[in-house]
């Protein structure tokens, strides 16, 4: 796809994030691989509990104290970040990789003005800038995320802003040091539908302007279809299918992906009930022995309960982890 000599911007290999130890060890992320090319958007789809947020925290080096990266590599432009101490990650966090979160209402410290919080992000990676200069840059950032009259809003406190505005502030903060990679963890989930569209448009425009890559985490396939170039589908701590957006939306191989696509409300079909996938994602401390989707899978055979399938190619970079794939023919 790209020149084999230049490494991709981000390459996650066989990443495992564990909590607890010994018999009580649980893996929130269990052997994940992920490649993000420069300037592209990689969508990560999964239900809650699939480990997608923990994956993003691991890339940021912000796994909670109770957990750890048990194995694997997180290469950013060739350098392995996995297991780097907090202090060394400080130079990378916010500067080369930035992140925005799901809840704009609680993402900002209620005690400080947004200008002060933006300034903190700028100063973290530019200690020589003067206070005047930093303030001007903060105002400029607010302007870039289309906040009206930024020279006034810069002195507002978070409680004086709406959710959509706060998410714009979060985006401004993430952009403050010109990151190569932006991790957006469900950035639109908590917002009204009309505001969601505005935020998605804004992110796309900013990506065009800056050429940054994005990891876009969501449980909403509609959002993924709108923004992603590549897509990985996660289930219970693993990637079950990955490929281009076209691969996933038009040629899905994994029964789980097909289930997710089937659960989407559609206007062109008149259904009394939306099709659903029965059951829930198994928690990481109670995983089935074989394929993790087997208990919920309509296509499961006894083989599926015996062993965990690995990712197999289905043309190009399209991979799926299912013994029964391609299941479309079986379904027919």
């Amino acid at each position: 796809m790209t020149d084999p000599k230049t490494p991709p911007l981000l390459q996650v290999e066989d990443l495992r994030v564990s909590f607890g130890a010994g018999a009580h060890e649980t893996r929130a992320v269990d052997g994940i691989g992920l490649t993000v090319e420069r300037g592209r958007t990689h969508g990560i789809v999964g239900e809650s509990g699939s480990g997608k947020s923990m994956l993003s925290l691991a890339i940021m080096g912000l796994v909670p104290d109770s957990g750890r990266i048990a194995s694997g590599r997180i290469r950013l432009g060739g350098r392995d970040l996995a297991g780097l101490p907090y202090r060394e990650m400080q130079a990378i966090r916010g500067k080369r990789i930035a992140m925005i979160f799901q809840e704009p209402m609680t993402s900002l410290n209620p005690l400080y003005t947004i200008g002060r919080q933006l300034s903190e992000a700028i100063r973290a990676h530019d200690r020589r800038a003067s206070a005047r200069e930093i303030r001007n840059r903060a105002i400029e950032l607010l302007r870039r995320v289309r906040i009206p009259s930024p020279e006034r809003r810069v002195d507002d406190y978070p409680h004086q802003m709406s959710g959509g505005m706060r998410q714009r502030v979060m985006i401004a903060m993430a952009l403050s040091c010109g990151p190569e990679l932006l991790i957006a963890d469900e950035p639109t989930t908590a917002l009204d539908v009309t505001v969601q569209v505005q935020i998605l448009d804004l992110l796309r425009e900013l990506q065009d302007e800056t050429g940054m890559a994005m990891i876009f985490i969501t449980h909403d396939l509609g959002v993924v279809a709108a923004v992603a170039d590549e897509v990985s589908v996660m289930y219970a701590g693993r990637v079950v299918e990955t490929g281009t957006a076209r691969n996933i939306f038009e040629d899905a191989q994994h029964p789980y992906t097909l289930g997710l696509l089937g659960s989407r409300p559609r206007l062109d079909r008149n259904l009394h009930r939306l099709p659903t996938i029965e059951g829930a994602v198994p928690p990481p401390f109670d995983l089935p022995p074989g394929c993790r989707f087997e208990p919920r899978c309509a296509f499961a055979t006894p083989d599926c309960a015996a062993a965990c399938p690995g990712l197999r190619p289905f043309g190009g970079n399209h991979l799926a982890a299912c013994f029964r794939a391609p299941v479309k023919e079986i379904a027919r």
Binding site: M60, L62, D65, Y86, R87, M89, Q90, A91, I92, R93, G94, K95, A98, M99, F101, E103, T106, S107, L108, N109, P110, L111, T113, E120, A121, A124, H125, Y157, H159, M170, M173, C177
Partner: protein, 311 residues
């Protein structure tokens, strides 16, 4: 801001009037009669009536209260029944002693609470240690802790004086030397209670998303702790600290007694032992005013810290 202060004062002032009146009524009328205190219990009814008329104890409580307030405003708090000394002369010298004790105690307790419980390194060890110290500090009575400290540092090691109070004029070193053990004893208790409140709040604030966002900016752990978690976690503590200071201004009874410190607490104890109403009354008023004013100060600090309150 000024508006806020005025609004608060309008609420606090009627409160002070009501509470001081209640205090006055309780101390002068219900705890026992001043006449029997001065004349003894076997005095004749005529003598009691005569004394009551002479001092105005037969007038309605409201009148007596207004009279007392009026006199207090001019610095006249009455005379001690026990020593016949003016109350102002007895209490006056004790005030700076107790205020200084309060100042050092709170300085030590607050700064130790905030620093020790916010440092991001060695969380598990520090956490277990402060939890242990907190339990000891809250459960062990002050007189026991004070006596233990005296027996270790003064008697066995001979590093510090056992008890007593020396004024600044005896030299700064001597003055501070006599302060170390009482301040340690008192602040152990406050450090313990402050820490319990602060640590619980700190753990909650730590889980907030804005803390994660701050980390994601690439700032140091220390900056995250002290600039983002601390200012939010301190909010519930501020009110508690205010009340504690107010109470302490009324005198640290046990500690002052153990260390023979001539502060308000010791004066209060001896006044109670002798049913010395004018002294008890004045002391009660001081404590009351201390608590009310410190609560007001705490509210002001909260409003300054939290922009959402000022509205």
């Amino acid at each position: 801001m000024l508006n806020f202060v005025l609004r608060r004062l309008m609420w606090v002032l009627p409160n002070i009037v009501l509470l001081t009146f209640l205090l006055f009524a309780v101390v002068t009328n219900w705890l026992g009669s001043p006449a029997s205190m001065m004349l003894g219990t076997d005095a004749s009814p005529e003598a009691v009536a005569e004394l009551n008329a002479r001092y105005g104890f037969d007038r309605p409580v409201v009148v007596q209260y207004l009279q007392w307030i009026g006199n207090a405003a001019t610095g006249d708090f009455g005379r001690s029944y026990a020593t016949r000394q003016p109350v102002a002369e007895m209490i006056g010298p004790a005030i700076p002693v107790t205020l200084e004790l309060t100042f050092w105690t709170m300085l030590l307790a607050i700064s130790a609470t905030l620093v020790i419980n916010s440092i991001p390194v060695g969380k598990h060890v520090v956490g277990a240690l402060t939890t242990g110290i907190s339990i000891v500090g809250v459960t062990v009575p002050n007189f026991l802790l004070g006596a233990t400290l005296i027996s270790i540092f003064s008697v066995s090691l001979g590093w510090l004086p056992t008890t007593g109070w020396r004024p600044w004029s005896d030299g700064i070193f001597t003055h501070l030397q006599h302060l170390i053990l009482p301040v340690l004893t008192l602040s152990a208790y406050y450090f313990s209670t402050f820490s319990m409140i602060y640590r619980a709040e700190y753990r909650q604030v730590e889980q907030q998303l804005f803390v994660r966002v701050a980390e994601a900016k690439g700032i140091s752990r220390r900056a995250v702790s002290f600039l983002h978690v601390l200012p939010n976690a301190i909010l519930p503590l501020v009110v508690y600290i205010g009340t504690s200071i107010g109470n302490l201004v009324g005198g640290a009874v046990v500690t002052e007694t153990v260390f023979s410190i001539p502060g308000l607490g010791r004066l209060f104890v001896s006044a109670i032992a002798r049913y010395d109403f004018p002294v008890m009354l004045t002391m009660g008023m001081i404590t009351l005013a201390g608590v009310m004013l410190m609560n007001l100060a705490a509210e002001l600090i909260l409003a300054l810290l939290n922009p959402q309150i000022r509205l």
